[in-house]
């Protein structure tokens, strides 16, 4: 893949042109997509989800306790054995991502946070990064977040340059350290202005098991040296019969 590298002169010109473009996006209103294809499953975060205790079965959460009649002002959320401790999670991490429709088959590193508490994206633009505080693929719950560069400062196009071309129905396959492969189907591709990205939802380890791919998009702002938008692709696991994962 070769991509154009603009001369510095053009980059300088863009500083003014793109400044104007950025104002236009901001006026579109906060929380609104710049662009969206498909639908991402809703995820409750914060107080609404705070009472949920892992380890309880769904029936525990809905059925009133025996003898607790329907007129009871109290609603049982969960009931669990508290004597088991939360043990270290030995689920293998993702090591590779393959997206045939855009010709991606690359290594996945483990990434954390940088000194600004932003996700550390692998410096090598040919590699993707699994955010280590997100869910592991196959864990059954929550968002597995994999990030990759759209391009580098001086490395040309990055691994996720073509993420913008993904459509609902496209397939993504993750390979884990135990060689297990998990296949996902894209359900949404969204573009958000960076100030409007619903980061808490996208990174939540609650809600349906899902894969969240994130890169940059929109115009490049040479003043901040950043793209103005994030492109977010959401995919749900597909079982062996080709059925999409449950979207609670």
């Amino acid at each position: 893949m070769t991509r154009p590298r603009p001369a510095l002169l053009v980059l300088g010109a863009g500083a003014l042109a793109l400044g104007i473009g950025t104002v236009g996006i901001a006026m579109a209103g906060s929380g609104v997509h710049v662009e969206a294809v498909g639908t991402r499953p809703a995820v409750a975060t914060g107080a609404a989800a705070a009472g949920v205790v892992p380890g309880a079965t769904p029936s525990d959460a809905t059925a009133p306790a025996a003898g607790q009649d329907s007129a009871s002002p109290y609603r049982t959320l969960t009931r669990k054995d508290a004597t088991t401790l939360p043990r270290p999670d030995r689920t293998p991490r993702p090591t590779q991502i393959r997206i045939p429709t855009i010709d991606i088959s690359i290594a996945v590193d483990v990434v954390g946070l940088d000194d600004r508490n932003q996700v550390e994206v692998p410096y090598d633009v040919a590699r993707a990064g699994w955010y280590r505080f997100s869910a592991k693929p196959g864990s059954g719950t929550g968002s597995t977040v994999i990030v990759g560069h759209v391009d580098g400062v001086d490395q040309g196009a990055g691994a996720f340059y073509d993420l913008r071309q993904l459509r609902p129905g496209d397939t993504v396959t993750i390979t884990r350290a135990d060689d297990r492969r998990i296949t996902y189907e894209v359900v949404a591709r969204e573009t958000f202005a960076k100030s409007d990205v619903p980061l808490r939802e996208l990174f939540s380890r609650s809600g349906p098991e899902r894969l969240t791919l994130i890169t940059c998009g929109g115009p490049f702002d040479p003043a901040s040296l950043e793209y103005t938008d994030n492109i977010v692709v959401t995919a749900l696991p597909v079982d062996s019969d080709g059925n999409l994962g449950e979207t609670r």
Binding site: A49, D89, F203
Partner: protein
């Protein structure tokens, strides 16, 4: 007011100070509260199967030691009462009771039925800190609700809470990850619980309860986990700009843009590592 009935009722200091003063209660949850109840009276102490009532209505049925039940209740003032299995407020006296417990809207609290330091049954009310944490962090709360003397709580061999007594607690925010947890008699190297590997997951509150009785040699740990309290990372900077396509009309600004070259170029150079 909390009043003593048959068993002794203790209230953690934090429980009295916090409910009315909680500032960060989400508006949409103002009328409901989340209350968990932990049965932490060991088997054989006369409370093997109990029913818990709140304001005369059954709250929890057939509750057994080591079980944690979480319920959603309307905000309000509650009289809590624990009865032997099958008994009701109409025909019996409670084993334990706490009157006029304030439960403000949006609060997340845990009521423990446990032994006090001397081994008598007690009810304690703790308010759970469910404020959000920065990405990468986890909150650990440790509560002493055992018939046992003062203890030190250690993580990876380092004391993180010293001299904790029944019914008190310690809370700390730490980097999320795996730790070796243990409990020592205060000021000694005598380990009474653990060491045990424990995962403190990012964005969760892990509440560890030391319960049981030292004398009966049934000290144990129980845990309550409250999830999804990470505020998430601050962003995803995933582009450097080397493939930027500029619109044709942007070239009209080329002359003016030349002024910006020096600045942008300098920043580019600075960001190259």
């Amino acid at each position: 007011m909390i009043r003593l009935t048959r068993g002794r009722v203790g209230i953690a200091a934090a429980a009295l100070a916090l409910p009315l003063g909680l500032a960060a209660v989400p508006a949409q949850a103002a009328e409901m509260a989340t209350v968990s109840v932990l049965h932490a009276i060991p088997e054989g102490a006369g409370a093997d199967v109990v029913d818990v009532f709140a304001n005369g209505d059954l709250l929890i049925d057939n509750f057994t030691p080591g079980t944690l039940e979480t319920v959603e209740v309307p905000a309000g003032t509650y009289d809590l009462a624990v009865f032997g299995d099958g008994q009701t407020p109409d025909d019996a006296e409670p084993v334990l009771a706490a009157e006029a417990v304030e439960v403000p809207g949006g609060v997340n609290a845990t009521v423990t039925a446990n032994l006090d330091a001397d081994g008598a049954p007690a009810l304690n009310v703790f308010v759970n800190d469910i404020s959000t944490m920065a990405a990468g962090e986890a909150r650990l709360i440790v509560r002493h609700i055992a018939a046992a003397p003062a203890v030190d709580v250690l993580a990876d061999g380092t004391v993180i809470f010293a001299d904790v007594t029944n019914p008190n607690e310690g809370a700390v925010v730490v980097p999320a990850g795996d730790y070796e947890a243990s409990v020592n008699l205060a000021g000694t190297d005598t380990t009474v619980l653990g060491p045990a590997p424990v995962m403190l997951e990012e964005g969760t509150v892990t509440i560890a309860y030391a319960w049981g009785s030292a004398e009966e040699e049934n000290l144990a740990l129980a845990t309550q986990v409250i999830t999804d309290l990470s505020s998430g990372p601050e962003g995803v900077p995933a582009g450097g700009g080397s493939t930027t396509q500029l619109p044709v009309w942007a070239f009209g600004f080329a002359a003016l843009g030349a002024l910006a070259i020096a600045g942008a170029g300098a920043r580019l150079a600075a960001s190259r590592r």
